[in-house]
């Protein structure tokens, strides 16, 4: 299959290894992977802040960028939810609504793509680690992904998966929320990270790099030993 990568803007700039791991896993499965360099940001920061005109322009750009792509796969449930659920809402009544719906149907979160679209759980990864999975809210509640990432993790050789309390509780990132209401965001990070530490895992894995920015940022600031990895990085480990 020809897969067009949808790389979140902050992954592009801050954690490119997540994008590279995504590309590698897909390529190792025999897919033809492309990256369309005209892509930037999906527009979610403006959408969530109420500036829908700015977000709408971003959505229309994305329609141009990904025109003709067979499937679009992104290593971020949040950015994929933006495309899948919120582009059609932003473009309600717009002449290009049908295009937005078409793109939504062709766009997948990375783990979702593997399990639901390709029907693959074991990608041949190997990682000796005790891992706990953090459900990002967009993956869990907007895309309805709960078992998919866990199935992928259970198939990794050497990996043991433990559940943490508060696995489905928000980490407190929430985009601009994290800096507009930092005291609440940080309190939420604390609740989340305390539970992660209590789980006894060495690694916290998520499908959302934005959650990992928050969780990882708080854990390292607090000097905790538990580390963060994106699902794609785990699946790329050999």
């Amino acid at each position: 299959m020809r897969v067009s990568l949808f790389i979140p803007c902050f992954v592009d700039q801050l954690t490119p290894r997540v994008g590279l791991a995504t590309a590698q896993v897909l390529r190792d499965l025999g897919h033809d992977v492309e990256f369309r360099e005209a892509q930037t940001c999906c527009g979610q920061p403006s959408y969530n802040s109420g500036h829908w005109d700015v977000a709408r322009a971003g959505a229309l750009r994305a329609l141009d960028v990904f025109r003709g792509a067979e499937v679009v796969v992104g290593p971020s449930a949040s950015c994929v939810a933006m495309m899948r659920k919120f582009y059609p809402e932003l473009l309600a009544g717009h002449p290009r609504l049908a295009e937005a719906k078409d793109l939504a149907a062709r766009t997948f979160e990375f783990g979702e793509f593997l399990v639901r679209k390709l029907g693959i759980e074991d990608v041949g990864a190997k990682l000796d680690a005790k891992v706990t999975y953090h459900d990002g809210c967009h993956g869990l509640r907007e895309l309805g992904l709960r078992e998919e990432p866990r199935r992928l993790l259970r198939a990794v050789r050497g990996l043991s998966l433990v559940e943490s309390e508060e696995a489905e509780t928000c980490c407190g990132f929430g985009g601009m929320f994290s800096v507009k209401f930092p005291m609440i965001s940080t309190a939420m990070a604390q609740v989340k990270c305390d539970a992660l530490v209590r789980s006894g895992a060495d690694l916290v894995v998520s499908s959302d790099p934005s959650c990992l920015l928050q969780i990882g940022g708080y854990l390292t600031r607090e000097g905790k030993a538990i580390r963060t990895l994106h699902l794609a990085e785990v699946l790329a480990a050999r």
Binding site: C9, L14, G58, G174, T186, A187, A189, Y218
Partner: protein
């Protein structure tokens, strides 16, 4: 920034700094999660039950003109009197006139958030009536001169010792840490007050149009006494409380109990069909229902957020909300706390002053998932944010998002900006910058890579 926004930031800062209180709240709600899940598992299909409950409310709310008039006609046929109040002031005036005409001195109340919404107690007390809350939690909050902390569990923020101390101070009772004894203290104090009261005031969980009945749900039996003993009864209800049929209660009553409190059914579910009828030995001789609009018809006119009128005030969205669990109920500064409060308050009190509550959410969606009547809560917070940005965005926000939109439309500029950001981050960390400095106060950022993803991709192609 509006005054309520400033106040919210200050109160949220204090509340989140109080780690023991946050732990206490989270643990208190931990028990709720367990019992809720146990009760949910007894439904053949919880999701289907949510559909049925949402449909029952949808039917009533989307034909409110007819449902309400049907209720009013049937309730008056039973001998009750219906009053229509456009806003809080009208409702207060109606209620105070009923009290005056009844020659009342003392008023006893059962739990009713709508009276909180219109600040009824203050108004009645200013006119010289003695007003007593008979719900245990509300009674405690009244003694503390505090509003309810949670609109279903008014004093859930208090430990037993605090309640015992409060009773010692106000009622002169001995200290105890037994919840049963604390309940008995309040009960002994309240019993005579029911007998002495001339007017009883309650809310309504549902108004059944088909039969003209007022449905009241409670765990303590205090609402039954409030409705039965005083000679005059007044029930205050928002117009969205009306439902079509008695049958609708078959799904709404258990779901209210399970979603809100993790109970199979609330202990007492009573239907009141008006005043004492000829030949009946007890019950009030007058039974009034005051129907309150207070901006609800404006919300009804908003097709996007109309489903917020489905709310049955179960409190499930507060119980699962990580924001509520970390800032508590008082920081909201509203009658209705939590996600439903953040959705409703801008409609009730004005978007300009109250939109910050819609912003104070990570949009995690736990509320929407928990709502038994399927209100699209977290997406309505997005709708409020959009409406606020259209009506009165700050100049900073306009410039910020305008510039952001301009940059993301230009991939080369975006890539250049990213490179500059990565290379200058060590310097930027030390500058007082909006957002970045705020982030770094409590959290690190990953060490920025030399090459971005797009750089790496180009490199690998070469």
């Amino acid at each position: 920034m509006s005054q309520p926004h400033d106040q919210f930031l200050a109160d949220a800062t204090n509340a989140t700094a109080d780690a023991p209180q946050r732990d206490f709240l989270r643990k208190a709600l931990g028990g709720y999660y367990n019992s809720r899940d146990t009760q949910k598992a007894r439904y053949r299909d919880w999701e289907h039950a949510r559909d049925a409950a949402a449909l029952a409310k949808w039917n009533a709310v989307n034909r409110l003109d007819r449902t309400l008039t049907t209720f009013a006609a049937n309730f008056e046929r039973n001998g009750g009197k219906v009053h229509w109040a456009r806003d809080g002031a009208e409702a207060r005036a109606i209620i105070s006139q009923i009290c005056r005409e009844a020659g009342a001195k003392a008023v006893i109340k059962s739990k009713c958030m709508t009276t909180e919404e219109i600040h009824l107690n203050d108004a009645l007390e200013a006119e010289g009536y003695g007003v007593v809350e008979s719900d245990l939690g509300e009674f405690i909050q009244q003694l503390r001169k505090e509003p309810p902390f949670h609109f279903v569990f008014p004093c859930m923020h208090l430990k037993r010792e605090a309640i015992s101390d409060l009773f010692t101070k106000h009622l002169g009772t001995a200290a105890t840490d037994s919840p049963e004894e604390l309940t008995m203290i309040a009960r002994r104090h309240l019993r005579q007050l029911y007998v002495d009261a001339d007017v009883g005031i309650s809310g309504a969980n549902f108004l059944v149009a088909e039969t003209g009945q007022v449905s009241i749900t409670e765990n303590e039996g205090n609402a039954r006494l409030t409705c039965a003993l005083p000679r005059v009864h007044i029930a205050l209800a928002g117009i969205e409380k009306v439902i079509d049929k008695l049958d609708d209660l078959a799904v709404l009553l258990p779901m209210l109990a399970t979603a809100g409190a993790g109970q199979p059914m609330t202990c007492y579910n009573t239907l009141y069909a008006g005043p004492r009828q000829p030949g009946e030995p007890d019950g009030p001789t007058e039974f009034h229902v005051v129907l309150l609009d207070n901006k609800r018809t404006a919300l009804l006119a908003d097709p996007e957020q109309r489903d917020a009128l489905h709310c049955i005030r179960c409190g499930a969205c507060l119980n699962v909300c990580p924001i509520f669990k970390n800032i508590g109920g008082f920081a909201y500064g509203t009658t209705y706390q939590g996600p439903i409060g953040s959705v409703l308050t801008p409609h009730l009190r004005g978007l300009k002053s109250w939109n910050h509550l819609s912003g104070a959410s990570s949009l995690c969606g736990a509320c929407t998932e928990a709502c038994p009547v399927r209100i699209d809560l977290h997406h309505h917070l997005l709708h409020n944010r959009r409406n606020a940005a259209l009506a009165h965005a700050s100049w900073f926000d306009r410039i910020f998002h305008g510039a952001f939109g301009w940059v993301i439309a230009r991939p080369r500029l975006f890539a250049l900006g990213g490179r500059i950001f990565r290379q200058t981050l060590p310097l930027l960390r030390r500058l007082p910058l909006p957002y970045l400095t705020t982030w770094l106060r409590t959290r690190d950022l990953p060490e920025p890579p030399v090459r971005s993803f797009r750089d790496e991709w180009k490199g690998s192609k070469r």
